[in-house]
Amino acid sequence: MPSSGASRVNEFLHQLASGLALGGVYAIMALALVMIYQATQLVNFAQGEMAMFSTYFAWKLTDLGWPYWRAFAVTVVVSFLGGIALERIVVRPFAKAPVLASVIVFIGLSLIFNALAGWLYGYSTTDFPTPFDGRPWFGQRYMSAHESGSVLVSLVVLALVWAFFRFTPLGLAMRAAAQNPTSSRLVGIRVGWMLAIGWGLAAAIGAIAGMMAAPIVYLDPNMMAGILLYAFAGAVLGGIDNPFGAAFGGFAVGVVENLMGAYVVGSEVKLSVALAIIVGVLVWRPSGLFGRRIVARV
């Protein structure tokens, strides 16, 4: 197929832009995973389905006629509280259980959220609104308004999370609790609550990821399986104990996935790119690009 050099460059830039847009979603999902990992050395396999469920909640609100940003804000708050409740009620009893039991509980949670969404909202694919419609931003042609907005939202979330952990006493206490629970309790930090708040934040961030992804991948109960996988890949690539490494990894995976899909393996098998990244990184550089080391919790 004859195509001019310019249009090939355009096509490449377009793919790159789409990769960045979804990469932002992966980045903040990876950040949510890291938040729980740092505190418990566990990966929450239910994170994706929790985010999907939050997204349905937001959809319900907009469907009732709520303005987008109000639905967005309420969803984030409700997800935060839901995450806390989930930690206190379901996850807490397994705090001292072996990894296998925790993984099984997380899988159980993900099945429950998937079933709940299917039961409440049905299994058909639905459109999800975006607040960023209209013409592409800044007069460029490579990135739709929603894609630009989504990247912006991801970056804002990253900045807010960074500021929260860096500058607020609660953020400091959460870092302390994750690092040294005993010393934290000795200065009066309620470590159990810090874990619960971590779950709440992860759920809230996941909700944002879901709401940014849904206009692109459409809303259905299985929408997050692939996204969670890419977020895993991003977290593993960047270093699962390093929030900003993981976020970088998320963006990188988004770009790599899109370019590989467009030029190398074909878009139908893009998920295997994530599989290859996960296995490859774990084999050759288990700590990821920016992680410190993997502490084996056998």
Binding site: V90, A97, L100, V103, G122
Partner: protein, 325 residues
């Protein structure tokens, strides 16, 4: 052990009942019976890995798929008879499992769960890959012909296939039983519970774990191959994440580190979705949510109150009964 004689009797009685079943039940029920046996084989395999050796796999559907596609391709495209195709396909699975076991050694625990989860999610896409269309049939899959009973035996195809499954299940069950009660089995359990101590006592962790992965995949492969014959069809969507997760549900409900319990696990994951299908006739689409909901709740409940699954509950009930006697 005092429990040995009754246990042998129970096993024989179950086997006799299973043998009689295809001559008493109707066609569809025989097919379902075969499915239960097939799932039990896969669950025994996964339980060797997860229950006994403590390696988490969320992606055994992939090995099930290799067995299924292997059997389909060998019989349909290459004309290999099914009784050779299944062993061959399961050997391929052993190889695949063994090879996957190598990187798995380095991950351990959580990371293995991550990697196998990725495998489970990616499997349907890989199976549907256009580049393999000629062999795998792409997204439409491969259709198989159900084998007939040999030597002019007066058995329907369903009955014959059921008996083949029963024979495979029985052989693989006893093989697994022997494996876990042997020195090797004890080493596998030791690597699960006391990895460092086991290694210092001279257990070659790498060899045992990768081999365990291979054997586990082989079981999944046999099950996948038999399933392809029983269903008469393989396609990418049947080997997705939900299949892998239902295996996990099966071993947890049946009982981690139990072999007999896998029959319960298999019955469970065969009939719960079935029940949901029947309910959806009356209750509509929302009944589709039922299996997932039941699975999820049971996984969590099992971990909270019944970590031994059905097998563990039965065992403690028997112990309680014999004490109160």
């Amino acid at each position: 052990m005092t429990g040995t004689a009754p246990r042998t009797l129970l096993t024989l009685a179950l086997f006799a009942a299973a043998l009689a079943f295809p001559f008493l039940a109707s066609g569809y029920h025989i097919y379902q019976g075969a499915q239960v046996l097939i799932l039990a084989i896969a669950l025994i395999g996964l339980n060797l890995l997860t229950g006994y050796n403590g390696q988490i796999s969320l992606g055994h559907g992939a090995f099930f798929a290799i067995g299924g596609y292997g059997a389909a391709i060998l019989t349909v495209k290459l004309g290999v008879p099914y009784f050779l195709a299944i062993p061959l396909a399961s050997l391929v699975c052993f190889g695949a499992g063994f090879l996957f076991g190598f990187p798995a050694l380095r991950f351990g625990g959580l990371y293995l769960a991550l990697a196998t989860f990725a495998l489970a999610v990616a499997t349907p896409q890989i199976l549907a890959y256009k580049g393999f269309d000629a062999v795998t049939g792409g997204s439409s899959g491969v259709t198989l012909i159900k084998p007939r009973a040999p030597f002019g035996l007066p058995l329907s195809a369903d009955q014959w296939l059921y008996l083949v499954c029963l024979a495979c299940a029985a052989i693989l069950y006893f093989a697994a039983r022997n494996l876990v009660t042997s020195r090797i089995g004890r080493a596998l359990v030791a690597l699960r519970d006391q990895p460092i101590a086991a290694e210092t006592m001279g257990v070659d962790a790498a060899l045992y774990k990768t081999t365990c992965f291979g054997v586990s995949a082989l079981y999944a492969g046999v099950a996948g191959g038999l399933s392809a014959l029983a269903v008469g069809f393989v396609s990418p969507e049947s080997f997705g994440l939900s299949l892998s997760l239902s295996f996990l549900v099966g071993i947890v409900v049946g009982g981690l580190a139990s072999l007999g319990g896998m029959l319960f696990g298999a019955l469970f994951i065969e009939f719960v979705p079935n029940l949901a299908d029947q309910l959806s006739v009356t209750f509509g689409e929302s009944a589709k949510a039922l299996p997932g909901a039941i699975y999820g709740v049971l996984l969590i409940l099992a971990m909270a109150i019944m970590p031994g699954g059905v097998a563990g509950a039965l065992r403690s009930a028997l112990r309680w009964a014999s004490k109160t006697k």
